[in-house]
Amino acid sequence: MSNSNHTNTYRRKFLAQSAAVAGLAIAPGIILNQVAHAKSDADKASSANRWGMLIDTNKCNKGCTDCVTACKTENAWGAGETHSSEEQQAQWIRKVTITDKQTGHVQSLPLMCQHCETAPCVDVCPTGASMKREDGIVQVDKHICIGCRYCMMACPYKARSFIHEKLELQKPTAPRGIGTVESCNMCAHRVDKGQDPACVEACSNAQHGAMLFGDLKDANSAISIELKKHGGEQIRADLGLNTGVRYQGL
Protein backbone atom coordinates (compact mmCIF):
# COMPACT_ATOMS: atom_id res chain seq x y z
CA MET A 1 0.00 0.00 0.00
CA SER A 2 1.71 3.17 -1.04
CA ASN A 3 1.52 6.14 1.23
CA SER A 4 0.38 8.51 -1.48
CA ASN A 5 -2.85 6.56 -1.80
CA HIS A 6 -3.70 7.22 1.82
CA THR A 7 -2.69 10.81 1.53
CA ASN A 8 -5.01 11.13 -1.41
CA THR A 9 -7.84 9.58 0.53
CA TYR A 10 -7.34 12.03 3.36
CA ARG A 11 -6.98 14.86 0.95
CA ARG A 12 -10.32 14.03 -0.64
CA LYS A 13 -11.99 13.93 2.76
CA PHE A 14 -10.29 17.15 3.80
CA LEU A 15 -11.37 18.95 0.65
CA ALA A 16 -14.93 17.86 1.22
CA GLN A 17 -14.85 19.33 4.70
CA SER A 18 -13.23 22.54 3.58
CA ALA A 19 -15.99 22.97 1.07
CA ALA A 20 -18.55 22.52 3.84
CA VAL A 21 -16.85 25.14 6.00
CA ALA A 22 -16.65 27.51 3.08
CA GLY A 23 -20.33 26.99 2.45
CA LEU A 24 -21.18 27.86 6.02
CA ALA A 25 -18.85 30.77 6.04
CA ILE A 26 -20.94 32.59 3.47
CA ALA A 27 -23.86 32.79 5.85
CA PRO A 28 -23.34 34.60 9.21
CA GLY A 29 -20.64 37.16 9.74
CA ILE A 30 -19.35 35.48 12.87
CA ILE A 31 -18.05 32.49 11.02
CA LEU A 32 -16.29 34.61 8.43
CA ASN A 33 -14.51 36.20 11.35
CA GLN A 34 -13.50 32.80 12.72
CA VAL A 35 -11.90 31.56 9.56
CA ALA A 36 -9.36 34.31 10.03
CA HIS A 37 -7.63 32.33 12.79
CA ALA A 38 -7.98 28.90 11.22
CA LYS A 39 -5.04 26.56 10.94
CA SER A 40 -4.97 23.48 8.78
CA ASP A 41 -5.52 20.14 10.51
CA ALA A 42 -1.92 19.12 9.95
CA ASP A 43 -0.45 22.28 11.47
CA LYS A 44 0.85 22.21 14.99
CA ALA A 45 -0.29 24.71 17.55
CA SER A 46 2.19 27.53 17.18
CA SER A 47 3.87 29.90 19.58
CA ALA A 48 3.12 32.61 17.03
CA ASN A 49 -0.36 32.64 18.59
CA ARG A 50 -1.53 33.02 22.12
CA TRP A 51 -5.21 32.37 22.53
CA GLY A 52 -6.99 34.46 25.09
CA MET A 53 -10.36 35.69 26.20
CA LEU A 54 -11.68 39.02 27.32
CA ILE A 55 -14.75 39.06 29.51
CA ASP A 56 -16.70 42.26 30.04
CA THR A 57 -18.41 41.85 33.43
CA ASN A 58 -20.68 44.82 32.73
CA LYS A 59 -22.18 42.97 29.78
CA CYS A 60 -22.41 39.66 31.65
CA ASN A 61 -26.03 39.02 32.59
CA LYS A 62 -26.42 38.02 36.27
CA GLY A 63 -28.99 35.32 35.74
CA CYS A 64 -27.59 33.93 32.53
CA THR A 65 -25.67 30.65 32.49
CA ASP A 66 -25.58 30.08 28.74
CA CYS A 67 -21.79 29.84 28.69
CA VAL A 68 -21.89 27.09 31.33
CA THR A 69 -24.62 25.19 29.50
CA ALA A 70 -22.76 25.45 26.22
CA CYS A 71 -19.60 24.11 27.83
CA LYS A 72 -21.51 21.18 29.32
CA THR A 73 -22.98 20.35 25.94
CA GLU A 74 -19.77 20.78 24.02
CA ASN A 75 -17.65 18.71 26.39
CA ALA A 76 -20.33 16.41 27.82
CA TRP A 77 -19.85 17.08 31.52
CA GLY A 78 -22.39 17.83 34.21
CA ALA A 79 -24.66 14.80 33.83
CA GLY A 80 -22.69 11.55 33.75
CA GLU A 81 -21.33 11.61 37.30
CA THR A 82 -24.20 9.89 39.06
CA HIS A 83 -22.33 8.46 42.06
CA SER A 84 -20.38 11.58 42.93
CA SER A 85 -21.69 14.08 45.43
CA GLU A 86 -22.22 17.66 44.35
CA GLU A 87 -18.85 18.50 45.92
CA GLN A 88 -17.24 15.76 43.85
CA GLN A 89 -18.77 16.57 40.45
CA ALA A 90 -16.62 18.32 37.89
CA GLN A 91 -17.19 21.91 36.82
CA TRP A 92 -15.16 23.30 33.95
CA ILE A 93 -16.74 26.73 34.03
CA ARG A 94 -18.98 28.38 36.61
CA LYS A 95 -20.77 31.67 37.14
CA VAL A 96 -19.41 33.50 40.17
CA THR A 97 -21.23 36.28 41.97
CA ILE A 98 -19.01 38.78 43.75
CA THR A 99 -20.20 41.41 46.21
CA ASP A 100 -17.98 44.27 47.29
CA LYS A 101 -17.86 44.31 51.10
CA GLN A 102 -17.53 48.11 51.20
CA THR A 103 -19.93 49.28 48.55
CA GLY A 104 -22.29 46.33 48.16
CA HIS A 105 -21.72 46.43 44.41
CA VAL A 106 -22.70 43.04 42.92
CA GLN A 107 -21.13 41.58 39.82
CA SER A 108 -21.45 38.32 37.97
CA LEU A 109 -18.85 36.68 35.80
CA PRO A 110 -17.88 33.34 34.31
CA LEU A 111 -14.77 31.76 35.82
CA MET A 112 -12.77 28.94 34.30
CA CYS A 113 -9.15 28.04 33.67
CA GLN A 114 -7.35 31.34 33.19
CA HIS A 115 -4.69 29.80 30.90
CA CYS A 116 -1.77 31.38 32.73
CA GLU A 117 1.47 31.99 30.90
CA THR A 118 3.37 30.69 33.95
CA ALA A 119 0.77 28.25 35.17
CA PRO A 120 1.26 26.90 38.73
CA CYS A 121 -0.51 23.67 37.71
CA VAL A 122 2.07 23.08 34.98
CA ASP A 123 4.95 23.82 37.34
CA VAL A 124 3.86 21.42 40.08
CA CYS A 125 2.78 18.45 37.95
CA PRO A 126 5.28 15.64 38.56
CA THR A 127 4.78 13.90 35.20
CA GLY A 128 4.18 16.81 32.85
CA ALA A 129 0.56 15.80 32.31
CA SER A 130 -0.54 19.30 33.22
CA MET A 131 0.81 21.13 30.22
CA LYS A 132 0.66 24.28 28.15
CA ARG A 133 0.43 24.11 24.39
CA GLU A 134 2.64 26.30 22.26
CA ASP A 135 -0.34 28.57 21.66
CA GLY A 136 -0.90 29.13 25.38
CA ILE A 137 -3.77 26.70 26.00
CA VAL A 138 -3.34 25.00 29.38
CA GLN A 139 -4.75 21.48 29.66
CA VAL A 140 -4.29 18.03 31.20
CA ASP A 141 -2.81 15.19 29.17
CA LYS A 142 -4.91 12.47 30.76
CA HIS A 143 -2.76 9.79 29.19
CA ILE A 144 -0.02 10.44 31.70
CA CYS A 145 -2.00 11.99 34.57
CA ILE A 146 -1.53 9.84 37.69
CA GLY A 147 -4.30 11.56 39.63
CA CYS A 148 -2.13 13.04 42.39
CA ARG A 149 -4.22 16.24 42.47
CA TYR A 150 -1.23 18.47 43.18
CA CYS A 151 -2.33 20.76 40.32
CA MET A 152 -5.67 21.22 42.07
CA MET A 153 -3.81 22.30 45.19
CA ALA A 154 -1.74 24.72 43.13
CA CYS A 155 -4.42 26.37 40.99
CA PRO A 156 -5.37 29.79 42.37
CA TYR A 157 -8.65 29.78 40.46
CA LYS A 158 -10.09 26.43 41.54
CA ALA A 159 -10.39 25.66 37.86
CA ARG A 160 -9.60 21.96 38.09
CA SER A 161 -11.78 18.97 38.88
CA PHE A 162 -10.94 15.37 39.70
CA ILE A 163 -13.06 12.56 38.25
CA HIS A 164 -14.31 10.48 41.16
CA GLU A 165 -16.02 7.68 39.21
CA LYS A 166 -16.13 5.71 35.97
CA LEU A 167 -17.47 7.63 32.99
CA GLU A 168 -18.71 6.53 29.58
CA LEU A 169 -20.02 7.95 26.32
CA GLN A 170 -17.61 10.84 26.26
CA LYS A 171 -17.49 13.20 23.30
CA PRO A 172 -14.75 12.29 20.79
CA THR A 173 -13.37 15.79 21.23
CA ALA A 174 -13.49 15.76 25.03
CA PRO A 175 -12.14 12.53 26.50
CA ARG A 176 -12.44 12.47 30.29
CA GLY A 177 -12.22 9.66 32.77
CA ILE A 178 -11.83 8.17 36.21
CA GLY A 179 -8.87 9.04 38.36
CA THR A 180 -7.62 11.95 36.28
CA VAL A 181 -7.87 15.70 36.61
CA GLU A 182 -9.52 17.92 34.03
CA SER A 183 -10.37 21.52 33.31
CA CYS A 184 -11.34 23.98 30.61
CA ASN A 185 -9.02 23.64 27.59
CA MET A 186 -10.50 26.66 25.81
CA CYS A 187 -12.17 24.15 23.48
CA ALA A 188 -8.82 23.38 21.87
CA HIS A 189 -10.55 21.13 19.33
CA ARG A 190 -12.70 24.05 18.17
CA VAL A 191 -9.85 26.53 18.24
CA ASP A 192 -7.79 24.17 16.07
CA LYS A 193 -10.59 24.30 13.51
CA GLY A 194 -10.76 28.07 13.64
CA GLN A 195 -13.92 28.26 15.75
CA ASP A 196 -14.54 30.17 18.95
CA PRO A 197 -14.81 28.26 22.23
CA ALA A 198 -18.35 27.06 22.93
CA CYS A 199 -18.88 29.51 25.83
CA VAL A 200 -17.92 32.51 23.72
CA GLU A 201 -20.20 31.40 20.92
CA ALA A 202 -23.10 30.91 23.35
CA CYS A 203 -22.59 34.34 24.88
CA SER A 204 -22.68 35.93 21.48
CA ASN A 205 -25.73 33.86 20.44
CA ALA A 206 -27.51 35.16 23.54
CA GLN A 207 -26.83 38.68 22.25
CA HIS A 208 -24.78 39.49 25.39
CA GLY A 209 -21.41 39.64 23.68
CA ALA A 210 -19.64 39.70 27.03
CA MET A 211 -16.97 37.24 25.91
CA LEU A 212 -14.39 37.90 23.24
CA PHE A 213 -11.96 35.26 22.01
CA GLY A 214 -8.85 35.81 19.95
CA ASP A 215 -5.11 35.90 19.47
CA LEU A 216 -3.32 38.05 22.04
CA LYS A 217 -0.17 38.02 19.92
CA ASP A 218 -1.92 39.40 16.85
CA ALA A 219 -1.99 43.16 17.29
CA ASN A 220 -4.84 43.43 14.78
CA SER A 221 -7.15 40.91 16.43
CA ALA A 222 -10.34 42.27 17.93
CA ILE A 223 -9.26 41.18 21.40
CA SER A 224 -5.87 42.89 21.16
CA ILE A 225 -7.40 46.10 19.87
CA GLU A 226 -9.98 46.12 22.65
CA LEU A 227 -7.37 45.32 25.31
CA LYS A 228 -5.14 48.10 24.03
CA LYS A 229 -8.00 50.57 24.02
CA HIS A 230 -9.75 49.74 27.31
CA GLY A 231 -7.42 47.38 29.13
CA GLY A 232 -8.28 44.18 30.92
CA GLU A 233 -7.54 42.98 34.43
CA GLN A 234 -6.31 39.62 35.65
CA ILE A 235 -7.87 37.87 38.60
CA ARG A 236 -5.23 37.57 41.33
CA ALA A 237 -2.93 39.81 39.29
CA ASP A 238 -0.70 39.90 42.38
CA LEU A 239 0.47 36.38 41.56
CA GLY A 240 2.00 37.63 38.31
CA LEU A 241 0.80 34.67 36.25
CA ASN A 242 -0.03 36.64 33.08
CA THR A 243 -3.37 34.99 32.50
CA GLY A 244 -4.78 34.43 29.03
CA VAL A 245 -8.27 35.24 30.30
CA ARG A 246 -8.79 38.90 31.12
CA TYR A 247 -11.72 40.78 32.63
CA GLN A 248 -13.12 44.27 32.23
CA GLY A 249 -15.16 46.07 34.88
CA LEU A 250 -13.84 44.16 37.89
Binding site: Q91, V96, I178, I235
Partner: protein
Protein backbone atom coordinates in the same frame (compact mmCIF):
# COMPACT_ATOMS: atom_id res chain seq x y z
CA UNK B 1 33.55 0.17 76.39
CA UNK B 2 32.67 -3.22 75.00
CA UNK B 3 31.96 -3.54 71.36
CA UNK B 4 28.21 -3.82 70.91
CA UNK B 5 27.07 -7.34 70.06
CA UNK B 6 24.23 -7.41 67.55
CA UNK B 7 21.83 -10.30 67.54
CA UNK B 8 18.49 -11.17 65.96
CA UNK B 9 15.54 -11.37 68.28
CA UNK B 10 14.24 -14.89 68.87
CA UNK B 11 10.81 -14.05 67.56
CA UNK B 12 9.24 -17.43 68.20
CA UNK B 13 6.86 -16.55 71.02
CA UNK B 14 3.13 -16.65 70.50
CA UNK B 15 3.04 -12.93 71.17
CA UNK B 16 5.51 -12.22 68.42
CA UNK B 17 3.47 -14.09 65.83
CA UNK B 18 0.29 -12.48 67.17
CA UNK B 19 1.90 -9.08 66.67
CA UNK B 20 2.87 -9.93 63.10
CA UNK B 21 -0.63 -11.27 62.43
CA UNK B 22 -2.22 -8.12 63.84
CA UNK B 23 0.02 -5.81 61.83
CA UNK B 24 -0.44 -7.98 58.77
CA UNK B 25 -4.20 -7.82 59.00
CA UNK B 26 -4.11 -4.02 59.25
CA UNK B 27 -1.86 -3.94 56.19
CA UNK B 28 -4.29 -6.21 54.36
CA UNK B 29 -7.18 -3.99 55.43
CA UNK B 30 -5.35 -1.06 53.85
CA UNK B 31 -4.95 -2.97 50.60
CA UNK B 32 -8.66 -3.82 50.78
CA UNK B 33 -9.51 -0.17 51.33
CA UNK B 34 -7.39 0.68 48.33
CA UNK B 35 -9.25 -1.73 46.05
CA UNK B 36 -12.54 -0.45 47.38
CA UNK B 37 -11.54 3.13 46.55
CA UNK B 38 -10.08 2.32 43.16
CA UNK B 39 -12.79 -0.06 42.03
CA UNK B 40 -15.47 2.49 41.34
CA UNK B 41 -13.49 5.64 41.96
CA UNK B 42 -12.84 8.13 44.71
CA UNK B 43 -16.52 8.98 45.12
CA UNK B 44 -16.63 6.50 48.02
CA UNK B 45 -14.22 8.71 49.96
CA UNK B 46 -14.85 11.98 51.76
CA UNK B 47 -12.48 13.75 49.41
CA UNK B 48 -13.89 16.03 46.74
CA UNK B 49 -12.95 18.86 44.42
CA UNK B 50 -12.50 21.23 47.36
CA UNK B 51 -10.67 18.96 49.80
CA UNK B 52 -8.56 17.19 47.22
CA UNK B 53 -6.09 15.72 49.68
CA UNK B 54 -7.63 13.90 52.61
CA UNK B 55 -6.83 11.58 55.46
CA UNK B 56 -4.50 9.32 53.42
CA UNK B 57 -2.28 12.31 52.76
CA UNK B 58 -2.26 13.21 56.46
CA UNK B 59 -0.88 9.76 57.26
CA UNK B 60 1.39 9.58 54.24
CA UNK B 61 3.06 12.94 54.79
CA UNK B 62 3.40 12.22 58.50
CA UNK B 63 5.11 8.88 57.88
CA UNK B 64 7.40 10.27 55.19
CA UNK B 65 8.43 13.14 57.43
CA UNK B 66 8.92 10.78 60.37
CA UNK B 67 11.08 8.52 58.19
CA UNK B 68 13.66 11.22 57.85
CA UNK B 69 13.52 11.90 61.60
CA UNK B 70 13.97 8.26 62.51
CA UNK B 71 17.42 8.56 61.00
CA UNK B 72 18.40 11.03 63.75
CA UNK B 73 20.15 8.49 65.92
CA UNK B 74 22.26 7.13 63.09
CA UNK B 75 23.12 10.64 61.94
CA UNK B 76 24.21 11.70 65.39
CA UNK B 77 26.44 8.67 65.70
CA UNK B 78 28.03 8.86 62.26
CA UNK B 79 28.03 12.55 61.43
CA UNK B 80 28.59 13.98 64.88
CA UNK B 81 30.63 10.99 66.04
CA UNK B 82 28.76 10.39 69.29
CA UNK B 83 29.71 6.83 70.19
CA UNK B 84 26.87 6.48 72.68
CA UNK B 85 24.38 6.43 69.80
CA UNK B 86 26.31 3.92 67.74
CA UNK B 87 24.63 0.73 69.01
CA UNK B 88 21.22 2.00 67.88
CA UNK B 89 22.35 3.37 64.52
CA UNK B 90 21.47 0.26 62.46
CA UNK B 91 17.96 0.13 63.94
CA UNK B 92 17.61 3.80 63.16
CA UNK B 93 18.24 3.16 59.46
CA UNK B 94 15.80 0.26 59.49
CA UNK B 95 13.00 2.32 61.06
CA UNK B 96 13.68 5.13 58.58
CA UNK B 97 13.35 2.82 55.58
CA UNK B 98 10.25 1.16 57.05
CA UNK B 99 8.52 4.48 57.75
CA UNK B 100 9.20 5.73 54.24
CA UNK B 101 7.84 2.49 52.79
CA UNK B 102 4.65 2.81 54.84
CA UNK B 103 4.19 6.45 53.91
CA UNK B 104 4.80 5.95 50.21
CA UNK B 105 2.45 2.99 50.14
CA UNK B 106 -0.36 5.18 51.42
CA UNK B 107 0.51 8.00 49.05
CA UNK B 108 0.66 5.74 46.01
CA UNK B 109 -2.47 3.75 46.82
CA UNK B 110 -4.45 6.96 47.03
CA UNK B 111 -3.48 8.15 43.54
CA UNK B 112 -6.28 8.44 41.02
CA UNK B 113 -4.32 6.15 38.69
CA UNK B 114 -1.92 4.07 40.81
CA UNK B 115 -1.66 1.74 37.82
CA UNK B 116 0.36 4.45 36.13
CA UNK B 117 3.02 4.64 38.82
CA UNK B 118 5.52 3.68 36.15
CA UNK B 119 4.79 7.01 34.48
CA UNK B 120 5.64 8.85 37.67
CA UNK B 121 8.86 6.89 37.94
CA UNK B 122 9.99 7.44 34.36
CA UNK B 123 8.65 10.83 33.28
CA UNK B 124 9.83 13.79 35.29
CA UNK B 125 8.90 17.44 35.15
CA UNK B 126 11.88 18.95 36.88
CA UNK B 127 10.09 22.12 37.83
CA UNK B 128 7.82 20.08 40.07
CA UNK B 129 8.84 19.66 43.67
CA UNK B 130 6.80 16.45 43.56
CA UNK B 131 9.11 15.08 40.88
CA UNK B 132 12.15 16.02 42.97
CA UNK B 133 10.61 14.23 45.90
CA UNK B 134 10.17 11.13 43.78
CA UNK B 135 13.95 11.21 43.34
CA UNK B 136 14.54 12.06 47.01
CA UNK B 137 12.40 9.14 48.16
CA UNK B 138 13.95 6.59 45.83
CA UNK B 139 17.41 7.90 46.64
CA UNK B 140 16.65 7.69 50.36
CA UNK B 141 15.99 3.95 50.07
CA UNK B 142 19.23 3.46 48.18
CA UNK B 143 21.48 5.66 50.32
CA UNK B 144 20.09 4.61 53.69
CA UNK B 145 20.17 0.98 52.51
CA UNK B 146 23.85 1.28 51.66
CA UNK B 147 24.45 3.11 54.94
CA UNK B 148 22.84 0.26 56.88
CA UNK B 149 24.96 -2.22 54.96
CA UNK B 150 28.20 -0.41 55.81
CA UNK B 151 27.26 -0.63 59.47
CA UNK B 152 26.12 -4.24 59.45
CA UNK B 153 29.02 -5.73 57.51
CA UNK B 154 32.20 -5.38 59.52
CA UNK B 155 34.67 -4.95 56.67
CA UNK B 156 32.57 -2.10 55.28
CA UNK B 157 32.50 -0.23 58.61
CA UNK B 158 35.13 2.20 57.41
CA UNK B 159 32.68 3.57 54.85
CA UNK B 160 29.85 4.13 57.28
CA UNK B 161 30.96 7.66 58.14
CA UNK B 162 30.81 8.86 54.54
CA UNK B 163 27.58 6.93 53.92
CA UNK B 164 26.09 8.43 57.07
CA UNK B 165 27.11 11.89 56.00
CA UNK B 166 25.50 11.44 52.58
CA UNK B 167 22.35 10.11 54.20
CA UNK B 168 22.27 13.10 56.55
CA UNK B 169 22.41 15.63 53.73
CA UNK B 170 19.93 13.61 51.72
CA UNK B 171 17.33 13.37 54.49
CA UNK B 172 17.50 17.12 55.11
CA UNK B 173 16.82 17.68 51.43
CA UNK B 174 14.01 15.14 51.53
CA UNK B 175 12.17 16.78 54.41
CA UNK B 176 12.70 20.25 53.02
CA UNK B 177 11.28 18.96 49.75
CA UNK B 178 8.28 17.45 51.49
CA UNK B 179 7.58 20.68 53.37
CA UNK B 180 8.00 22.60 50.16
CA UNK B 181 5.12 20.65 48.62
CA UNK B 182 3.08 23.04 50.71
CA UNK B 183 5.54 25.92 50.85
CA UNK B 184 5.48 26.30 47.07
CA UNK B 185 1.71 26.61 46.77
CA UNK B 186 1.36 30.29 45.95
CA UNK B 187 -2.37 30.04 45.51
CA UNK B 188 -3.36 29.07 49.03
CA UNK B 189 -3.39 31.40 51.98
CA UNK B 190 -2.51 28.69 54.48
CA UNK B 191 0.63 27.57 52.64
CA UNK B 192 2.94 29.62 50.42
CA UNK B 193 5.55 30.22 53.12
CA UNK B 194 9.27 29.52 53.06
CA UNK B 195 9.09 28.47 56.70
CA UNK B 196 7.29 25.27 55.66
CA UNK B 197 10.55 23.62 54.57
CA UNK B 198 12.55 24.13 57.79
CA UNK B 199 9.45 23.57 59.93
CA UNK B 200 8.98 20.16 58.34
CA UNK B 201 12.64 19.36 59.09
CA UNK B 202 12.11 20.02 62.80
CA UNK B 203 8.79 18.19 62.74
CA UNK B 204 10.60 15.22 61.26
CA UNK B 205 13.13 15.25 64.12
CA UNK B 206 10.34 15.18 66.67
CA UNK B 207 7.92 12.67 65.07
CA UNK B 208 10.68 10.34 63.90
CA UNK B 209 12.42 10.20 67.26
CA UNK B 210 9.13 9.66 69.11
CA UNK B 211 8.37 6.64 66.94
CA UNK B 212 11.94 5.39 67.21
CA UNK B 213 11.90 5.68 71.00
CA UNK B 214 8.62 3.80 71.19
CA UNK B 215 10.00 1.02 69.01
CA UNK B 216 13.19 0.78 71.10
CA UNK B 217 11.29 0.69 74.39
CA UNK B 218 8.80 -1.89 73.17
CA UNK B 219 11.41 -4.14 71.56
CA UNK B 220 13.73 -4.18 74.56
CA UNK B 221 10.89 -4.77 76.97
CA UNK B 222 9.31 -7.57 74.94
CA UNK B 223 12.63 -9.33 74.30
CA UNK B 224 13.88 -8.91 77.87
CA UNK B 225 17.00 -7.12 76.74
CA UNK B 226 18.42 -4.47 79.05
CA UNK B 227 17.87 -0.80 78.14
CA UNK B 228 19.97 1.38 80.41
CA UNK B 229 19.08 4.82 81.73
CA UNK B 230 21.99 6.42 79.93
CA UNK B 231 20.64 5.61 76.47
CA UNK B 232 17.07 6.18 77.52
CA UNK B 233 17.70 9.60 79.05
CA UNK B 234 19.73 10.76 76.10
CA UNK B 235 16.97 9.90 73.68
CA UNK B 236 14.14 11.38 75.73
CA UNK B 237 16.00 14.63 76.42
CA UNK B 238 16.72 14.97 72.74
CA UNK B 239 13.04 14.36 72.06
CA UNK B 240 12.12 17.15 74.45
CA UNK B 241 14.35 19.60 72.58
CA UNK B 242 12.74 18.63 69.27
CA UNK B 243 9.19 19.02 70.62
CA UNK B 244 10.10 22.49 71.85
CA UNK B 245 11.63 23.18 68.43
CA UNK B 246 8.39 22.31 66.67
CA UNK B 247 6.45 24.61 69.00
CA UNK B 248 8.90 27.40 68.26
CA UNK B 249 8.41 27.02 64.51
CA UNK B 250 4.62 26.96 64.89
CA UNK B 251 4.76 30.19 66.89
CA UNK B 252 7.06 31.79 64.32
CA UNK B 253 4.83 30.69 61.45
CA UNK B 254 1.66 32.12 62.94
CA UNK B 255 3.25 35.31 64.25
CA UNK B 256 4.63 36.07 60.80
CA UNK B 257 1.23 35.50 59.27
CA UNK B 258 -0.53 37.57 61.92
CA UNK B 259 1.63 40.55 61.01
CA UNK B 260 0.48 40.61 57.38
CA UNK B 261 -3.09 41.76 56.88
CA UNK B 262 -3.59 39.56 53.84
CA UNK B 263 -3.16 36.49 56.05
CA UNK B 264 -5.52 37.63 58.83
CA UNK B 265 -8.40 35.68 57.35
CA UNK B 266 -6.70 32.32 57.35
CA UNK B 267 -5.06 32.95 60.75
CA UNK B 268 -8.40 33.80 62.32
CA UNK B 269 -9.75 30.63 60.75
CA UNK B 270 -7.12 28.31 62.20
CA UNK B 271 -6.61 30.06 65.54
CA UNK B 272 -10.12 31.26 66.43
CA UNK B 273 -13.07 30.64 64.12
CA UNK B 274 -12.30 27.38 62.37
CA UNK B 275 -14.46 25.13 64.56
CA UNK B 276 -12.99 21.65 64.40
CA UNK B 277 -9.67 22.94 63.01
CA UNK B 278 -9.29 25.49 65.79
CA UNK B 279 -10.02 22.84 68.40
CA UNK B 280 -7.62 20.39 66.79
CA UNK B 281 -4.96 23.08 66.66
CA UNK B 282 -5.17 24.15 70.29
CA UNK B 283 -6.19 20.99 72.10
CA UNK B 284 -4.63 18.43 69.79
CA UNK B 285 -1.53 19.94 68.27
CA UNK B 286 -0.43 22.47 70.89
CA UNK B 287 -1.60 21.08 74.24
CA UNK B 288 -1.74 17.32 73.67
CA UNK B 289 1.06 17.05 71.13
CA UNK B 290 3.34 19.76 72.52
CA UNK B 291 2.88 21.05 76.04
CA UNK B 292 1.86 17.83 77.83
CA UNK B 293 4.72 15.76 76.32
CA UNK B 294 7.17 18.53 77.23
CA UNK B 295 5.91 18.50 80.82
CA UNK B 296 6.12 14.70 80.99
CA UNK B 297 9.65 14.65 79.57
CA UNK B 298 11.12 17.35 81.78
CA UNK B 299 9.19 16.88 85.04
CA UNK B 300 11.61 15.36 87.59
CA UNK B 301 9.21 12.52 88.47
CA UNK B 302 7.56 11.61 85.17
CA UNK B 303 10.84 12.24 83.34
CA UNK B 304 12.26 9.11 84.96
CA UNK B 305 9.23 6.93 84.32
CA UNK B 306 9.38 4.75 81.24
CA UNK B 307 5.59 4.62 81.19
CA UNK B 308 5.28 8.40 81.28
CA UNK B 309 7.80 8.77 78.46
CA UNK B 310 5.94 6.15 76.41
CA UNK B 311 2.76 8.16 76.89
CA UNK B 312 4.60 11.35 75.95
CA UNK B 313 5.90 9.69 72.77
CA UNK B 314 2.45 8.44 71.83
CA UNK B 315 1.03 11.93 72.41
CA UNK B 316 3.74 13.40 70.19
CA UNK B 317 2.78 10.98 67.40
CA UNK B 318 -0.93 11.74 67.78
CA UNK B 319 -0.24 15.46 68.06
CA UNK B 320 1.89 15.20 64.92
CA UNK B 321 -0.90 13.53 62.99
CA UNK B 322 -3.24 16.28 64.17
CA UNK B 323 -0.76 18.94 63.13
CA UNK B 324 -0.68 17.38 59.65
CA UNK B 325 -4.48 17.33 59.63
CA UNK B 326 -4.64 21.02 60.51
CA UNK B 327 -2.05 21.89 57.87
CA UNK B 328 -3.38 19.70 55.06
CA UNK B 329 -7.14 19.60 55.61
CA UNK B 330 -7.48 22.92 57.46
CA UNK B 331 -5.46 24.66 54.77
CA UNK B 332 -7.82 23.41 52.09
CA UNK B 333 -10.98 24.02 54.09
CA UNK B 334 -10.26 27.73 54.08
CA UNK B 335 -11.64 29.11 50.80
CA UNK B 336 -9.35 30.38 48.07
CA UNK B 337 -8.98 34.14 48.08
CA UNK B 338 -10.12 34.87 44.52
CA UNK B 339 -11.26 38.45 44.88
CA UNK B 340 -9.68 40.10 47.93
CA UNK B 341 -12.16 42.39 49.70
CA UNK B 342 -15.19 40.82 48.06
CA UNK B 343 -17.69 38.18 49.01
CA UNK B 344 -17.79 35.36 46.51
CA UNK B 345 -20.43 32.76 45.80
CA UNK B 346 -20.99 30.19 43.05
CA UNK B 347 -22.22 26.70 42.28
CA UNK B 348 -18.66 25.45 42.84
CA UNK B 349 -18.40 26.27 46.55
CA UNK B 350 -16.42 29.46 46.09
CA UNK B 351 -16.11 31.59 49.19
CA UNK B 352 -17.39 28.98 51.63
CA UNK B 353 -15.51 26.93 54.20
CA UNK B 354 -15.21 23.49 52.66
CA UNK B 355 -16.33 20.48 54.63
CA UNK B 356 -14.66 17.12 54.81
CA UNK B 357 -15.77 13.97 56.56
CA UNK B 358 -13.21 11.21 56.24
CA UNK B 359 -14.48 7.70 55.58
CA UNK B 360 -13.43 4.40 57.13
CA UNK B 361 -11.64 3.37 53.94
CA UNK B 362 -9.39 6.42 54.07
CA UNK B 363 -8.61 5.82 57.75
CA UNK B 364 -7.81 2.15 57.15
CA UNK B 365 -5.51 3.04 54.29
CA UNK B 366 -3.67 5.53 56.49
CA UNK B 367 -3.39 3.23 59.51
CA UNK B 368 -2.19 0.52 57.13
CA UNK B 369 0.85 2.69 56.50
CA UNK B 370 1.78 2.40 60.18
CA UNK B 371 1.09 -1.34 60.10
CA UNK B 372 3.39 -1.88 57.13
CA UNK B 373 6.13 0.12 58.84
CA UNK B 374 5.93 -1.81 62.10
CA UNK B 375 5.61 -5.14 60.30
CA UNK B 376 8.79 -4.45 58.38
CA UNK B 377 10.65 -3.52 61.55
CA UNK B 378 9.37 -6.50 63.54
CA UNK B 379 10.23 -8.90 60.75
CA UNK B 380 13.63 -7.43 59.94
CA UNK B 381 14.91 -7.56 63.54
CA UNK B 382 14.08 -11.28 63.56
CA UNK B 383 15.97 -12.17 60.42
CA UNK B 384 18.86 -9.67 60.57
CA UNK B 385 21.24 -8.43 63.25
CA UNK B 386 19.88 -4.93 63.80
CA UNK B 387 19.59 -4.88 67.59
CA UNK B 388 22.39 -4.86 70.14
CA UNK B 389 22.00 -7.59 72.74
CA UNK B 390 22.31 -5.09 75.51
CA UNK B 391 21.80 -1.37 75.87
CA UNK B 392 22.68 -1.50 79.56
CA UNK B 393 24.65 1.51 80.71
CA UNK B 394 27.98 -0.27 81.04
CA UNK B 395 27.60 -1.66 77.53
CA UNK B 396 26.92 1.71 76.00
CA UNK B 397 28.53 4.51 77.94
CA UNK B 398 32.33 4.63 77.82
CA UNK B 399 32.46 6.74 80.98
CA UNK B 400 29.90 4.81 82.93
CA UNK B 401 30.96 3.68 86.36
CA UNK B 402 28.93 1.50 88.62
Amino acid sequence: MKKAVFKQIDGNSINYWMLLALLGSFALAAVGAHFYMEHGGHYVTGMNNQIVWGLPHVFAVFLIVAASGALNVASISSVFNKTAYKPLAPLSTLVAIALLSGGLMVLVLDLGRPDRLIVAMTVYNFKSIFAWNMIFYNGFFLIVGIYAWTMLQRNLNKYSRIAGFTAFIWRLALTTGTGSIFGFLVARQAYDAAIMGPMFVVMSFSFGLAIFLLIVMATYKWTDRPLGDATFNRLKNLLGVFVAGVLYFVVAQHLTNLYATEHHGVEAFILRDGGIYTQLFWYGQIIMGGLIPLALIYHPTTGKSRTAISIASILIVLGGLIQMYVIIIGGQAYPLELFPGKEVSSSFFDGVVNSYSPTLAEALLGIGGFAVTLFMVAFAVKIMKFLPESLADEAVDPHHSK
